[in-house]
Symmetry: D2
């Protein structure tokens, strides 16, 4: 199942070392101004090869729009976007055809499909997420038109915490925050901690190892009423969207796991009237109650596991000979995937909000 | 959207203080032996009024099966199950019609639907989860026929951790584990910690407050290959299913958030050959790689927030007069929802696995 | 798959001789005034046992609403409706367990599910359509609030054509037309032809045979813009909805099969300006172009095959002994199902239009 | 909604005069041998510019496969196929921007989307069906592997009937039949009637007019048990699939509308034992009873309206000036769309059968 969403729907395709990757965005309202540049900008934020902490694979990730846009505006028809694979170096992958890499989907994929494209992880590769970012760029533009902004950033790398709290920011700070994040090599707005994070990543890299981290994302400007109980709750759909990103092992909303240790009197957000509007004093709920947005900022966090591809020697098995062996992964890979996952988290959150915005009628089916 | 699943599909209905609640299970294979008792047993595990840590509302929760079963076997047609509401005491709820309870969906629900049944939280009530448990009972029976067992238990209450690790158990221990869990008033297999947990809950109750906790669930016997990348990954669908349960604020798979602080060499599960079978030495992945089951036990944890209904005075607003006020919630409620959420977690996990089992072909479309 | 619709969704359940039948309507906007009587009235139009041309099974078909309505208005939550089976006489069905009835789904159903409830056709019985009518009643009320009226009637029975053309009527005539139709024992507005139709049916009945016919349905007041190309076109969804009714073997829109013999210059509807509005002079398109409603009345016709249950001796096989045999169907059945299918056609058309009305935003997600 | 199917799913994109068109086929089992040639062959059967009865637009319709296939076999991942638009001549379309063509979707589309790509009908163009044919080629290959063959042909053009009955053929005749059909300029296997059909089309063309017709399609080798009552019945899904093809105004199964005039004793297909197998003597049911395939050949017919684009002067309105005017359509168009619709009907039927084959488990989720 490579389709996500109910009204605003994305279908992605593509293997890491095939001809190309891409997606179809279906259900985007007509009349939305959208340029190739807006898509490309988002892709550039995710693309590999531009930092010491990412893989050396060079992909220009140039996107082409094949349909759905006419004279700079969406038609309400499917928007097909394609990115050709350029720098796919498959030479180092032949050995993994029969020796599954620990932490990777190689073996599970083979168990499921029998016949697989092992080169670079095939479709299980993180490269697939470029399609999500392209689709997310459309969602983000649509949300922006409706006053909604989504921003994600590195909250923690290898235990090093950025000094930033979701509550510190408002919708007017988004642009500045985004500048900070995308200037940062590790995609954190905390310039002080950035250095430590970077050092930790490079140390791990040197030791042929990898590290993980935590990404936080906030959506500002989401009105009350998004989310469709009892199963398509907004938090449920966010959890699914985020957990479907490669390497994510946990998702939490608002206080998340911390809430489990609190008392009700601490965890509840009491209501107040502020400038004629009802809002809550705190936002432990992360902007969602009963699966429905409350009007407060929506706050989520995801746990990113350390990159599975490491140079260190690991135990595995040779599938053909059915005997134990070891593997030292060569190929090119990111010692820490967190920075490159940041725009993917943003994209997936935007996809969920655009879809629910349309489902609820908050976003109209056509823009005039 | 009150339907969950793609092939094994559940649609639930019902308000807390309406005529009744229930569900339709569609897509269950024909030929599955299924009795009313098997459903009722699961419902009894969730039903209120049977312990000092739960609400005093007495609901016998007697289920009636209206269709889909003929002479003790499923027909492959929709199984309709209904539970009438008996002990709905709506008298204490009139006051909340205009003063939304902090932590509850009252206001969000009103923002979304305008016209609401405020009595007992209406459809946002935890009572809705009884329908999930009834549906889950069908899924669990179906899974059992295919050698899959799902078990959940209280892992932590108010910071008090049960001395149990997912890895301690195998499929042969499930029945014993289940006995331990369902004999426990807080639904934990750790008899030692149970007492502290109970005391903590009762203290909170006395202080008109509430506590939260963590539930862990394990599925044994799931074969490799379940999960449909890239969006309907097994972990993604589990995350959605679990996050859709009222009061859940976080979901993690395997090592979860802990993985964010580890190195790749620690977090990866290396492969070995054990008794002619490939398995991993450790199970940090929680039985899922690349969104596909690996054959190892599937391990998830959810964070349950403290019950939102508390007797303590809280700040809120009067919606009619649009001015701030306070509320002391009366009604009947659980000081800790964790124990009663245990069978719900089990049910939702079973629903996901039954659905993916059918999607993948692991569970046949008819049992002969 | 017993669910129909994308936003306005109906899930039905129930076997002909089980405990009961019913449905859940999910996705109906909140705030719609809806009474039990409005549902019951529609069910009474379909219920058996009230005329010489229908089965003698007496079912009061009393519907109970279990959820989704509070003080006379819909809540936006699932509306669960249940009808208990009363007069299910299973005695005459034991013989068909092993000798499939020609024209019936007995054998196909057995081939598919292996384990079946053979009594009265189980879920393949026309009785299942009562659930559709109950759900359709909700859809019709919702459409009426938005100015849309759906009406169906018998157009032809056994080749005897009613003297009525879709183009003869406008939205202001609907109430009168409905009166005519539902006063008629064969559900035709043509009083002159009614007698012949009735005679023909009774003759067939006497000869232990059955007849078929054609039903036409019109929707007035549908605005331009409903329908979601390229697959969920309005005519495509209508075709599916109508073809899913038992005994329907053909569906056509507007001129339908007649159009195949025309020239483009005859079949095209030219545009004109009428009272400041663009409309077409003719309506060969049946109100749908390119899968999208044009604002003209939507006109469909379905072919109803003669009732498969006939008393005449027919060739069949004994499944146990695997040898040819004959069958004379006893049970109770309609010599012509057309009149009782009329409200079902109306219901299915209403379900499609309500769903597309919501999808397009023509019908709001909540009524204030 | 540009996605069709539940397990075998097709999403199409593209405007007639945009950059290109194409589709993603998701849910195809892994391990299916599939070459570019097999797709191209099907596309060549539909492509324009190769006969006196079709438009003069020259499109080579060369397809490129971007993903989902590795070394000649499917991976079980999305198969993305793209066709670039080459010979799009938009010059003649500027005038239709404001004067909707009778019989076309121009006005309905504008009413729905407001912002449209009017060039060549945009996405409402028949060109969109090339994507369906590409997807259908995959479905046909998959079906063939399971012993199912789908064949469609022109049954009637402008009232001239081909002397062929569905019952005349068996599965062993398919290849020969296909040869006959695809050699024929009007895609009919009846060489005698072909000449008259052709003359009639050319006469209409000369008179700046167009004609319609009827296409019949048969599926051989479909086992009993496909179809998912009560809504996703096989005939219901076929009806939807076929009605979604541009210009189709009617769909019938087996005897179809003829059945409405028959008696039960004539319309029922009695069962017999033939060579140890149960089959029916006749096939009025068209291979489907109760929405489930019976094992007999599946027979459908569709009514194709005459091409809406005609050179004759027609009445329309000028949208800008809101006054009546006339139009003489220039552009390039088919005087009879029936022959080019034949492979599209085949494709859509194949898509439905592949999907239901997978849903039922008749087609496995992976081919070894």
């Amino acid at each position: 199942m490579n389709t996500f969403g109910r009204i605003f729907r994305v279908t992605t395709y593509g293997e890491s070392h095939g001809c190309g990757i891409g997606c179809i965005v279906d259900g985007c309202p007509s009349g939305l101004g959208l340029t190739l540049d807006e898509i490309q900008t988002e892709l550039d934020r995710r693309k590999p090869g531009n930092s010491p902490v990412s893989t050396q694979r060079k992909e220009s990730d140039l996107v082409e729009i094949l349909s759905g846009i006419f004279e700079g505006k969406t038609l309400g028809t499917p928007i097909s976007m394609m990115i050709r694979n350029i720098d796919a170096d498959s030479t180092k992958y032949s050995e993994i055809a029969d020796t599954p890499r620990p932490g990777h989907a190689d073996l599970a994929w083979k168990d499921k499909f029998s016949y697989v494209d092992f080169r670079g992880g095939g479709r299980a590769s993180g490269r697939e997420t470029a399609s999500r970012v392209a689709a997310g760029a459309v969602a983000k533009k649509l949300l922006k038109e409706s006053g909604v902004e989504v921003i994600a950033y590195t909250k923690e790398i290898a235990g090093i915490k950025a000094g930033i709290k979701a509550g510190d920011y408002g919708i007017s700070d988004v642009e500045g925050l985004r500048q900070l994040v995308y200037k940062s090599v590790v995609k954190t707005p905390d310039k002080k901690q950035e250095k430590d994070m970077l050092t930790t990543i490079l140390t791990a890299k040197k030791e042929k190892d990898s590290v993980g981290g935590i990404i936080e994302a906030i959506a500002f400007g989401v009105p009350p009423g998004l989310g469709e109980p009892v199963f398509d709750k907004l938090d449920a759909d966010l959890a699914k969207a985020l957990m479907s990103i490669p390497s994510i092992k946990g998702v939490e909303i608002g206080s998340g796991f911390e809430a489990a240790g609190k008392r009700g009197s601490e965890a509840n957000d009491s209501f107040m009237i502020d400038d004629g509007q009802i809002r809550s004093r705190t936002n432990h709920a992360g902007g969602i109650l009963g699966g429905i947005s409350t009007g407060m900022p929506i706050v989520v966090r995801v746990a990113v596991k350390p990159t599975s591809s490491i140079g260190k020697k690991q135990q595995t098995v040779n599938l053909k000979e059915m005997k134990e062996t070891t593997i030292e992964i060569k190929g090119r890979h990111d010692p820490c995937i967190v920075p490159r996952a940041v725009p993917v988290v943003e994209a997936m959150m935007a996809l969920v909000l655009a879809d629910h915005g349309l489902r609820t009628g908050f976003i109209p089916r056509r823009l005039l």
